[in-house]
Structure formats: structure tokens, C-alpha cells
């Protein structure tokens, strides 16, 4: 109920989606730098795949030589050769 109200108010007032929603904000610069904001936790990580838990489901980054450059509680910087990005788990209603 509250989430629906929040979304409606956000739409009326023309707020950006990252302010209104709870989902992650993912910024990809080229193919080598990824900034993930508003994630919940790290599910799994290796040099080939990094999986993060977010409010919108799990985000999966695939690639080569992936490394977590900086880990903060709400922000994550990933570097490496990115080849794929996919969401798993929940469906958008």
C-alpha cells in the first residue's frame, strides 16, 4: 500500500526512479567499470561472475577478471571485462 502510494506520488511530482524506488542504481562506464548503488548483499562472487542481492531480485554480472574494487555498505564498485548483465529471481509486477 505504502509502496504504491510512494510510486504514485513520485510519478505525479516527477521524481527520478532512483529516489522513489528501492531498486538498485547501476552505472556502467564503458565495459570495464560498474557502480552499483543500493544493493542488499553479495550473494556470490568469482572472477567470472558476481551476484548481488537487491530489492528487485538478484543482479548477475558476467565477465572476465571481475574484481570488487571498493565495497561499501550501500555502494559497490566493480572492475573487469563485463560481458553480461542479468536479473534473476523476482518478476516485475
Amino acid at each position: 500500500m505504502f509502496k504504491k502510494l510512494q510510486t504514485s506520488v513520485g510519478d505525479i511530482l516527477d521524481f527520478p526512479a532512483d529516489v522513489v524506488g528501492e531498486g538498485p542504481k547501476i552505472t556502467i562506464t564503458g565495459r570495464r567499470q560498474i557502480l552499483v548503488e543500493n544493493y542488499i548483499s553479495i550473494v556470490d562472487f568469482s572472477e567470472e561472475e558476481i551476484r548481488l542481492e537487491t530489492a528487485e531480485g538478484d543482479v548477475c554480472f558476467g565477465g572476465k577478471g571481475l574484481a570488487l574494487k571498493v565495497i561499501l555498505s550501500t555502494e559497490l564498485r566493480i572492475e573487469g571485462e563485463l560481458s553480461s548483465l542479468s536479473f534473476k529471481g523476482r518478476e516485475i509486477k
Binding site: V43, F45, E47, L68, K69, I71, L72, S73
Partner: protein, 403 residues
């Protein structure tokens, strides 16, 4: 740059974490407020970096997730400082050496005299010492210009004296007056130039000229005190060498004779001439010199038809009598061009005057005041301008004759 400095200042620890719940370990660490950098998984476990201050805070997450943490490397100023702190003797030695070198570099450690031919270096050094210029004194407290001025006043045979400090060395540069060579007048004061005597002051000896008299170069101005010994026992170099107890030599004449002296120089400048001058374009070539062999790496030949070459050699600092055999050389090629110059009479006259003035200035001892100046145009030739510059000075004429 600043990020690197910050990292170095706070110190970094590179660690390897091993366990089955590494993702949970990361989540717990970030929940605890610890920032991890460069986290990467490998076959041996997980490698990551964190600041020195955060390292102890890993313990909680490691215990919860049964993760073992091993330090791989330590990097940064806190570790360097700790290492140095353990070597207090070495640290003290470095500080002492730096202090000693700093203090010593502020002192005068050596004094040398250059440019003197007839003046004795030991005499100059002794006079300088009485003025405060001696070894082991604080060099910044010395008034080098004042010392140079006083030395010049004390040494009449010196036309110019300059005192220069180069690090811990002090060099007394002397330019001596050119003295006429008259063997029989040794000990007498003679005229250095032809001129008219303006004032005469005798400290010791007998004056041979009077004010207003015209003297020629080499003429005796003040003679020394006559010897008390009979002429038969007068001292000659040979007899002095033979005699074990030579009679005292008569004291040399002392005094000042100031007068007016004239100098002149002529210069001729044609109204039209072909002159070779630099065009302003230049090129640079680099090469290596090994002994007498030169290998040019860039620009082996001059790119200009007509050019002047300047070769600059850059060698490593020599150590004692050893020099590094390979030198780096730089060749500057400056383009030259032939220019046909057409001058007006006024321009040619001005240039001739300038050239003549430069020439005549070379003949005058520096710091001698110029009393009068005259420029005479001698030209009657339609193709060139001839100008003579005549300068009148008022200077000390008396110098000791060279034996």
C-alpha cells in the same frame, strides 16, 4: 596522486581470506563499516586490501563466518616508520650526518686566489683574513663586496678584485694592473699611461714629477728611498744569493699620482656591405660520444645550407679522477644567411661610434671615472664612415715597475 598519497599515509594491508562463506564474510565486513579495496577471488581464496586502522575490525566477521585471514603484505608509511623506529642508531646517524652537512655547508671551507701573477696569494689571503674572510666562518655573515672593495684599496697593483662564494668555496678573483717592464726601475713607482699629473701624494720616496707635468708611459714618478749602504755593496740578485747576510734592501716607493689620461679608438663602417648573420632558425641534434667517436642519433647533418654549429657536451659528474666514458652531446645548428646591408650616413656614423666606444672602453680599467668624452667624425670617404671616440679619465697613474 592524492589518492596514492592518502593510501601511503594511512597504510594498507593486503590479506588472503580462506573459508567456505566468503560472500557472507564480505557482507558482514561491510556491515561492520570496514571498507575493502581490490577484492578478488582466486584459487587460494580471496585477496583484498584494507587500511591499517580497519584490520582489527575484521576479527568479528572472521569469527562469525569461520574465515581465516592471513596477511600477505604491508604497505605504507606506518610500517616504514615502525621499521625505522626499530633502527634508532641508523636514524640517529642519518640525522647527525644531515645536521653536520647542513652546518658545514654554511661555513667557508676553502679560500682560493685566482688571476694573480705578481701579487702573492699568501699576502692576499693574509689581508683577507684580517678583514674576516677566513676558513670556518659563517659564510652568510661575510660582506663579500665590502671585503673586495677594501682589498682593492689595500692592493694598489690590483685593477679589480672580486670575491665570489660558490658553496663552501670562496674565490678571490684578481685582475692585476698591467705594469711596464723596466728592470732598472724596480721599487720605483712609474707611470702606467701617458698623461698629465693632477695631484701627487708621496708616502715614502722622492717625487720626480710635479703637478701639471706631462708624463709618458714608464716615466719614473716616485723613486724609492736611497740605500744607506755604499754603492759597491748594492744588492743585485747574484750578490744576494752569494751573501749569507744580505744588506736590507731600500724600501720601495709608496704613494699616489693621479692625473688625466686620454684614450681613443677609431672605427670604420661602410655604407654598403654583405654580412653573414643568423637567420633565427635553428635545429638540434642529439648524439653519443664515446672517446673521440661521435654517433649522432638525431639530425646527423645540418639541415641548413650555411650554418654555425655549437656542440654542448653533457657528461655525468666525474668522481675523483674517473669520468664516465660515454657522454651525451647536443649539436645546435644555427642557420646563417648573407644579408646585403645598406646604411644611411647617420646609421653608419652611429654604428661606428658605438663600435669605437666599445673598443675604447676595453682599454680603460673598470671603475675608472670618465671625465670628458669627444666623438670626432674623420670621414671624407663617400663609401664609409670613420669615427674616433676620445675619452679622458682621471685615474691613478703610478704603478710599480716590473723588474
Amino acid at each position: 596522486m592524492f589518492e596514492w598519497l592518502r593510501t601511503f599515509w594511512y597504510g594498507r594491508i593486503l590479506f588472503l581470506a580462506r573459508g567456505d562463506q566468503l560472500a557472507r564474510f564480505l557482507n558482514q565486513v561491510s556491515k561492520d563499516g570496514v571498507i575493502l579495496y581490490h577484492t578478488q577471488k582466486s584459487e587460494r581464496g580471496m585477496r583484498a586490501q584494507l587500511t591499517l586502522a580497519d584490520f582489527r575490525r575484521l576479527r568479528h566477521a572472521a569469527r562469525l563466518t569461520h574465515t581465516r585471514v592471513h596477511i600477505v603484505a604491508k604497505y605504507g608509511w606506518p610500517f616504514v616508520a615502525a621499521r625505522w623506529w626499530r633502527r634508532k642508531g641508523l636514524l640517529t646517524g642519518i640525522v647527525v650526518i644531515a645536521t653536520v652537512l647542513t652546518v658545514l655547508s654554511q661555513l667557508v671551507l676553502s679560500i682560493s686566489v685566482t688571476g694573480n701573477r705578481n701579487l702573492m696569494s699568501s699576502d692576499v689571503l693574509a689581508r683577507a683574513e684580517t678583514l674576516g674572510l677566513k676558513t670556518w666562518v659563517y659564510s652568510k655573515s661575510l660582506d663579500l663586496n665590502g671585503i673586495a672593495k677594501t682589498l682593492q684599496e689595500q692592493l694598489p697593483d690590483a685593477a679589480w678584485i672580486g670575491v665570489e662564494r660558490k658553496g663552501t668555496d670562496v674565490i678571490i678573483k684578481i685582475s692585476e694592473k698591467i705594469r711596464p717592464i723596466i728592470p732598472k726601475e724596480a721599487g720605483n713607482l712609474v707611470a702606467m699611461h701617458a698623461g698629465i699629473v693632477g695631484e701627487i701624494m708621496v708616502i715614502q720616496g722622492t717625487p720626480q714629477v710635479h703637478e701639471g707635468e706631462t708624463v709618458r708611459a714608464g716615466q719614473v714618478l716616485i723613486t724609492q728611498e736611497p740605500s744607506l749602504n755604499p754603492p759597491s755593496t748594492s744588492i743585485t740578485p747574484n750578490s744576494a744569493a752569494d751573501n749569507s747576510k744580505p744588506a736590507p734592501l731600500p724600501s720601495a716607493a709608496r704613494g699616489f699620482v693621479r692625473g688625466r689620461v686620454w684614450y681613443s679608438a677609431e672605427a670604420k663602417v661602410p655604407l654598403a656591405e654583405n654580412k653573414v648573420e643568423e637567420s633565427g632558425k635553428d635545429a638540434t641534434g642529439w648524439g653519443i660520444k664515446f672517446g673521440s667517436r661521435v654517433i649522432m642519433v638525431t639530425t646527423p647533418n645540418s639541415p641548413f645550407k650555411q650554418a654555425r654549429q655549437e656542440v654542448l657536451s653533457h657528461s655525468l659528474l666525474p668522481w675523483r679522477n674517473w669520468r664516465f666514458p660515454v657522454e651525451c652531446i647536443r649539436v645546435n645548428y644555427k642557420e646563417l644567411r648573407t644579408v646585403h646591408l645598406e646604411r644611411s650616413v647617420a646609421e653608419a656614423r652611429q654604428l661606428a661610434e658605438q663600435t669605437a666606444r666599445t673598443e675604447v672602453q676595453k682599454k680603460i680599467t673598470p671603475s675608472v671615472p670618465i671625465v670628458k668624452e669627444a666623438v670626432k667624425i674623420l670621414s671624407s670617404n663617400p663609401e664609409a664612415e670613420r669615427v674616433r671616440v676620445e675619452l679622458e679619465t682621471y685615474e691613478d697613474l703610478a704603478v710599480y715597475a716590473n723588474p
